[in-house]
């Protein structure tokens, strides 16, 4: 499954819930969720732990828009809109965690 998150992990529990409930697969961080993909945040540890169970992607245009392109956590793959589409196509189902 592709899990899509669009909220900051510091102001909502969407990403936490996804990490707790989802069985594995892929996570794509978009919009304000890209803050979760940056080093130095209090969420970094959880992202690093999650890498054992999930492949984690973040949408580069959203990272760049927020001035964070130089601090993406190592192991998080950045993708463009074309990569977003590829992820949706490659997975049997997807869930947007609102």
């Amino acid at each position: 499954m592709l899990n899509i998150i669009n909220k900051s992990p510091l102001s909502g529990n969407s990403l936490d819930s996804c990490l707790n409930v989802a069985t594995g697969g892929e996570i794509l961080l978009i919009e304000d969720a890209v803050y979760a993909a940056t080093s130095g945040s209090s969420f970094e540890k959880k992202i690093r732990e999650a890498m054992g169970r999930f492949r984690i992607y973040a949408l580069l245009p959203d990272i760049e828009a927020r001035g964070l392109a130089d601090r993406v956590i190592e192991g998080v793959s950045t993708v463009g809109y074309d990569g977003f589409v590829d992820l949706v196509v490659a997975n049997r189902n997807c869930q947007s965690w609102l």
Binding site: S14, S17, V21, A22, T23, C94, Q95, W97
Partner: protein
């Protein structure tokens, strides 16, 4: 897909009622989906479990109490309601506090059930 043309739809409810419009909107879409003879289930986790709390009285906030609708879902052949146990526990609730019959699942069971779905819609 289990049968020709029938997909497994799961509506994932993670928001409390009344504070935002998500819970009511989810119910509206669930009822629409029921008209298309699909395999529909509802999942309740996080604050979404509050949607099913017995005894909701909304007169004081001048808002429609839509909680009786959950009991009417059976009439639309929607009988698969799943509630995550960890979310109930975290809120001091148990199955007896809920206004409709549900299946209580562990977090892991909920994750597996989500994996089986064809379509997941989150509210």
């Amino acid at each position: 897909m289990s049968e020709e043309g029938i997909k497994k739809f799961m509506f994932v409810n993670r928001k409390a009622p009344y504070g935002t419009i998500y819970a009511l909107e989810a119910l509206e879409v669930v009822l629409i989906t029921a008209a298309f003879d699909q395999d529909v289930s509802l999942a309740f986790l996080d604050d979404g479990v509050y949607q099913l709390k017995k005894g909701q009285q909304t007169k004081g906030i001048e808002t429609k109490n839509f909680s009786p609708t959950y009991r009417a879902l059976e009439g639309y052949d929607i009988e698969k309601l799943y509630v995550e146990k960890e979310s109930l526990d975290a809120r001091g609730l148990s199955e007896e506090d809920l206004l409709v019959d549900v299946t209580v699942l562990s977090r892991a069971e909920m994750g597996n059930l989500m994996e089986e779905q064809d379509v997941l819609l989150s509210f």
